[in-house]
Each structure stands twice: as C-alpha cells, then as structure tokens.
C-alpha cells in the first residue's frame, strides 16, 4: 500500500486542481481529503455518503458556578489565558481552553471538570466501483484539526486494506502546522504545489523545510508558471540550487476556472493544456511510487 500526499504550504496555489486530477486518473484509489477546515475534494467527485462518524477532539474545562468560591487560582494557573473574570464570575473561554487539566487539579473546591467535546464529523463516501473518499468537517473554532486529519487517514487506510486498493491519495491541509504535518507523516511521496508569486516562493521554502523535517521524498510542481515567468525562473533556480526535483510546470489555462465552476477535474477536459501537463506529472509521480 502506497500513500501519496499533495500539499502546498498555502491555499490557492492549485492543490485541489492537482489532487482532483490525480484522483480522476488513479483507479482504483481511496482519496483522503485532509483539508478538514474547508474540505472541497468531495465537491469535485460528488461521492455518495455511506458512513458517518463523530469526531471527539480535545476536552474542555467546565466550571460549576455554585461550587466556585471565586478564589481565582484557576485563572492564575491557566497558561492559555482561557479563564476570565467578568461580572464577578470565573468562566472558561471554550475557544482558548486546551483541556490541559491544570485548573481541574488546582481548584480547591473541585468545582472544575474536563468534558469531552464533539469537534466535528468525518465521512466515508463512495464515488464509483473503483473510487472511494474519506472526508471531514471540523466544527468552526476547533483546535484539534491534526487529530481529525489522523482519523481521516486512518479510515482511508482501513478502507484501502479492506477493499484491496493499493494507493491512498491524500489531499493535504494547507500551512505548515499540525494539520499539514499530520497530512504528510509516513507517506511514501509528497508532491508540493506552488505558483509563481513572490509569496509563492516564500511559502514554498517553508513547506520544503517542513517536508524535509519529516524526511519525506518529494518533488515540486509549478502551477500557472507562465503567469509570471520571472518568478517562475526564481522558483526553478531555488529548486536547482537546493537539489529539489521539479516534477513539471502547469500552464495557466482558462479552462481550469471552468472546471472549478463545473466541478469536474481538469484532466477530463480533452483540450486542456493544464490537463495535459498534469497527466505528464502524474506519470512521473507514479514511477516514483513503484
């Protein structure tokens, strides 16, 4: 079983364009949409929901007000500034609380307890006989997205094993923090998508460092490379000088906008220049996985 991740450091570089295309080209496959903050991949494939799971993330502290004698020890001990004192009442800010238990232990009145919170849901959907997808929805304001990413990956692996599918394609979470790193740990290969903007190069360097930190094999794809040839060149020079393989360059193609509106992977449009480039990149990546 091979796990392939597509990441981008930052949103908007064309990760969904690439991952939906890879998803369309791979057969059989289990897709894992790890962008749990704003899951879009299933919108592209319109899978039929088969199973739904609750996701319980971190715990949150709750103060029982009639036991509280307002000593303020909880507020003092909390390192996350999650306890406020307003209108003569101590209260836990559910968004700031990390569920560390310090206030529970410290409260002399035993007025605080930790409670498990429902943080989101994750789903298993079937696209067709050859393709399945695991995706998720994190409730707004939740912190444990790395944990939910791990659940999505676990379920995708389980489904792949059950159905004898050789490959799990992971659409990674953006950024370089815990959801992003949770998307790339223990993968066989990582494709990094970037675009030729000055921020694109800046973000690329940070995600490259992150992928290296986790010691994964990887290559870079430059999307919309012809939009700014100068910056594209800078990205190529950076890759060359840093010994990073460029898997391919995707031209700017107005059909991509159309494919996003029509919710259909770009490789399914026969005349698409971008689609053609992605097919070539796909072949190259498949050889890496062999």
């Amino acid at each position: 079983m091979k796990q392939l991740a597509i990441v981008s450091g930052k949103g908007g570089t064309g990760k969904t364009t690439l991952s939906s295309s890879f998803g369309a080209l791979l057969s059989p496959v289990v897709l894992a949409d790890c962008d749990v903050d704003a899951a879009n991949l299933n919108l592209m494939f319109n899978g039929k929901l088969e199973e739904k799971y609750d996701y319980y993330g971190g715990k949150k502290a709750i103060i029982v007000q009639n036991k509280c004698d307002k000593c303020g020890i909880c507020k003092k001990i909390c390192r996350f500034e999650a306890i406020s004192f307003e209108n003569e009442v101590y209260e836990v800010d559910q968004y700031a609380c990390e569920g560390c238990n310090a206030c529970v232990i410290a409260c002399p009145q035993n007025a605080i307890s930790l409670e498990t919170a429902l943080s989101g849901e994750y789903y298993y959907s079937v696209i067709d006989e050859q393709k399945e997808i695991v995706h998720a929805n994190l409730n707004p304001g939740e912190e444990t997205s790395g944990g939910l990413v791990a659940e999505v990956r676990k379920l995708a692996l389980k489904k792949a094993e059950e159905k004898g599918k050789d490959i799990v394609l992971i659409d990674g979470a953006p950024g370089i923090g815990c959801p992003a790193t949770s998307s790339i740990t223990a993968t066989n290969y990582v494709v990094i998508v970037t675009d030729p903007t000055s921020s694109g190069l800046h973000d690329l360097k940070r995600i490259v460092e992150t992928v290296r930190h986790f010691r994964r094999d990887f290559g870079v794809v430059i999307n919309k490379y012809d939009l700014n040839p100068d910056v594209s060149k800078q990205i190529e020079n950076y890759c060359l000088s840093d010994n990073i393989e460029i898997l391919g360059k995707i031209p700017f193609d107005e059909l991509v906008e159309k494919s996003n509106l029509e919710m259909k992977p770009i490789v399914l449009y026969e005349n698409s220049m971008a689609g053609k480039a992605i097919k070539e990149i796909f072949e190259k990546v498949m050889r890496k996985l062999k």
Partner: protein, 282 residues
C-alpha cells in the same frame, strides 16, 4: 477600530485585501497592520518594513531530573497530551506533543520536574511609514500551532492608532479564532465559485458564533458573482467590495506590488470599505 481579515480558505485574496487596505487607509489614518498568518506570513513581502524589534515566543517545557524522579507516573497520568511517559528506568518528555501547560510539574510529588523556555517562533515589529505600523508572527518549522504566537502578537496592538488590521490564517480553526478575539469587525474574503461559497459559509458560521459583525469582499470577480450575491442577501451580510478578475491586478500581486498604488482609482474604493465598516460598528 480593530478589523480582522479572514477567508475560510487560503488563496482567496486575504493578503491582497489586507495590504491594500493598510496602504490606502494609511494616507488618512494612523494604521497598524498585524500579519497573524503565522504559518505563512506574506504581508511584509509587499512593503519595505523598517524592522525595529524582534522577540521570541516561548513556551515552558518540562525537564525531568531522573535522579530525583521516583517513577510514580503521576505526571504521565495527569498529562492530557501523552507528552510524558514514565518508564521503569526514566521518565521521558516528548517535546513535540507538549503544550507547555505545566500540569506535570504541578503534580510531581518530589519536585523532580523543572521548566525551561523553548522558542516556538517569533514576533517582528516595525514601521512601514509614519502612518503605518507593522507587526507579524512567524511559527518555527515543525511546531504544531501558532495560537500562542498570535496571542503574543496581539499584545502589541497599539490602542492609539485609528485602525488595526489583522490578517488572519486561512480556515476556521483555533488560530483564526485567536485572530478574531476582542475585535470589532470581520472582513470575509471570498471568490465567486462553489468552493468559495462553501468556505465563506464556514467563515460566516464562525463570526456569528463569536458575535462579530462582518462584511464580504469578493475577489476575482468575473461578473459571475450571483452565487455570492444571493447568499449575502439571504444571510443579510453586506458586500463591501468586488475586486475583478484582472490580469493586471494578478500580475502586480505576483510581483509583490500593492495594486491600488498603481491603479489609483482603487484608493477611494478601499477607503469607502472602511467608511461602510465604521457605519456598521457603531
């Protein structure tokens, strides 16, 4: 007035809106721009920032004195993050899992645990011009969460300026919530696609839950914005501005330039956005 710019998802144009607003408003007002997209801060790439100060953001990590430790396992039992384990011959801290909450040292019956600061990132502060102050947070590679960095960055909010603009991380999870705490208004940047609408509705859920008034900026408008217009009308959220899908704007952005500096008709449009917001916050 404190305004946070968010987007549900990356790549919709948060940086464009933040930098253009900061630039245009600084012609008339005292402005502070804080880049809280600490995983990938980009705002500084659009300005010449005169850096005045840098500070480290630290958390306290436990260090176990294994000579004093009696391997009772109380620390491991108390830790909610599985970051400390007591083996028969040593008690070990897994640094990457540690949130630095201090529970382990609190419960240790023999005081075998002390704490040392560890840097997880930094804050950079400076000035772009006399009317425009700048600050940004930067998370170290390999660190899980930027929330503390955003919290520390927000401690540098200058109460004497007229407008504070906070460029948030994408998404709707905890770093975004941290960027939204104690602010007056949220600008939701979106684009006119089904994805854009999907992610916008997530951002709307969040600001409503936090009871923050908001308005929408549509980026890459192709004239095909009915989707968002209808949604905004239904949900009763004003559309503050539409930025067209324009090759020149995209090109200026890709070169790291603020487009309203080169296309001056946009200065007034961004200034109007602020006037609309002022009317809504009172």
């Amino acid at each position: 007035m404190k305004i946070t710019i968010l987007s549900g998802k990356g790549g919709t144009g948060k940086t464009t809106v933040s930098t253009n607003l900061a630039y245009t408003l600084s012609k008339k007002y005292k402005v502070q721009l804080l880049d809280a997209d600490v995983e990938e801060p980009n705002d500084h790439l659009f300005f010449n920032v005169n850096v005045e100060k840098e500070e480290s953001v630290d958390i306290l990590l436990p260090v176990v004195d294994n000579d004093a430790c009696i391997r009772c396992g109380e620390c491991a039992k108390a830790c909610q993050f599985g970051a400390i384990t007591s083996f028969p011959n040593a008690t070990v801290v897994f640094k990457n899992l540690c949130h630095g909450c201090g529970v382990c040292s609190m419960v240790c019956p023999v005081n075998a645990i002390t704490e040392v600061p560890k840097s997880i990132g930094k804050i950079v502060l400076g000035k772009i011009n006399d009317n425009l102050k700048f600050g940004m947070g930067l998370l170290n590679i390999g660190e899980p969460s930027g929330v503390r960095i955003i919290r520390q960055l927000k401690k540098h909010i200058d109460e004497n300026v007229d407008v504070v603009l906070i460029d948030s991380q994408p998404g709707t999870s905890c770093p975004v919530v941290e960027s939204l705490r104690n602010i007056d208004f949220a600008i939701l940047v979106t684009e006119p696609t089904t994805f854009g609408l999907h992610d916008l509705s997530l951002a709307v859920d969040l600001v409503r839950e936090m009871k923050i008034p908001s308005g929408i900026v549509i980026n890459r408008d192709t004239g095909n914005t009915n989707l968002i217009d209808e949604y905004a009308k239904k949900e009763n959220i004003p559309i503050l501005l539409k930025i067209p899908f324009d090759r020149e704007i995209a090109k200026l952005y890709s070169e790291g330039k603020i487009f309203s500096e080169y296309l001056p008709e946009w200065e007034e449009k961004f200034a109007n956005v602020f006037d609309t917001i002022k009317g809504m916050v009172k």
